[in-house]
Amino acid sequence: MSDYSIWVLEYGAVPNAPKGITVHGTFNQGTVKLPYCYVVIKGKGHLAMVDVGYNDKDYGKVIADSYGVQNWQAPAAVLAEIGATPGQVTQAFITHAHFDHMGNTDDFPNATFYVQEREISKWVWSLSLNRKFRWLNAATDPGDIMRIVDLARQGRLVSVQGDRADVIPGVDLHEAFDTHTWGSMFVNVRNDGKPGSADCWIFAGDLIYSYANLEGYDPADPQYIPIGLATGSQINVLLKIEEMIKLAHGETRRVIPIHDEGLKDIFPSRISAKGLRVTELALAKGEASRVK
């Protein structure tokens, strides 16, 4: 029996994203639906999230009008699909500091936010570089930086130093330095609480967008293929992909690409009345299914 119930919740989507942004090299191969999701982990007195999405108040209309992100829904509506409220969220593990992963901290007033110290410090460092290097922080929001200041002053920001086991029981944070960003991390939920458990779920942030990043396209000859964007090193990205698969004892379906629309074909899912996907990965004892 699982310690935690786990859901991947869609909160918006780009219906026709170029495939080449999800798997590097697949240019001019059409488009894919790119869902925007966060993860909810419920159990043992905790309601934790992996990432919190972007701040629609500041950018929603711009994003909707200019970039094709459709059907953004507020956390209150999204979490209601699993019977939860934003105020109940106790922890949020921020995989990296891009605006579309940590922009919505304001909507979770009772959560403590965990982010790698290296992500913050290198981010601040990048702001001091010559203007020619501005690509490095173009996707970071000055408003998010100010929100970090507020969180720190409220005692709601935990700067993580590398790997951290059992941040909540059975949930580990793993550094993925110098990959997608300087201080990215991934989250491993060992759902029976046992060390090295095969009953685990790994949430990779933007280290991967698709199962194709983990497996390639030839089942007879699998390969790792990175996504297009890396502030750090693609070699490090591939090494972390391998590390995540090893933690999952080779069962790649347990390494969850939240942006992969194909999750609905692998795990029990439903489409909500608001047109957003709810995918259910695990149910703890006593928890009712939210998709059946």
Partner: protein, 190 residues
Amino acid sequence: MIGLADRAARRLGDRLESLPVLPRVGVDDISGLPSEPLRQVKIDDATAAYVAKMRDPFELLRQAEAQLAGLLVLATAGGHAIAGHPMLELAAEAVKQAEDGIQTIKAPPPALHHYHHVVQALRAIAQATAQARRVLRPRDDAAIDAVLGPLRAAHQNLLWATTALPGFEVVALSQACCANHTATAKRSSP
């Protein structure tokens, strides 16, 4: 000692007096002005020229805002090297360059709303920079608030400016992990 940012703020204050029509928005008043929906703004040649000229100053203001916010992170985390931190001087220089650029720009009527918010943002960032020079100390809540207040006002004015005219971003969404780059490319095309 009167700093560069103080002089910058006063010069802009003089120029603001000559702006027609639009009400003043102080650095503590972030209620703002209603924005015309972006798609309804007609871009004539003069406005297009304004947009082209204002992009660099706008980006400099965004850069300065981000750098000051980064300094606040260091102050909150208890950093000891804020006074004289290189990033403070970089922010001040960015503010100066932005001001110099803005002073050369004349806003045509369709751009007046945008211009107003950019000028407000400049004043607020200049004030934040001045405060950071004078008072910013690690873990000093009052000192941090003295910078954070005008910085928030600056951020809000930059956001409003982005809705007043196309071509301005506080966050380069095209660089986002998950942006629809096809749409981005179409938007960026001349």
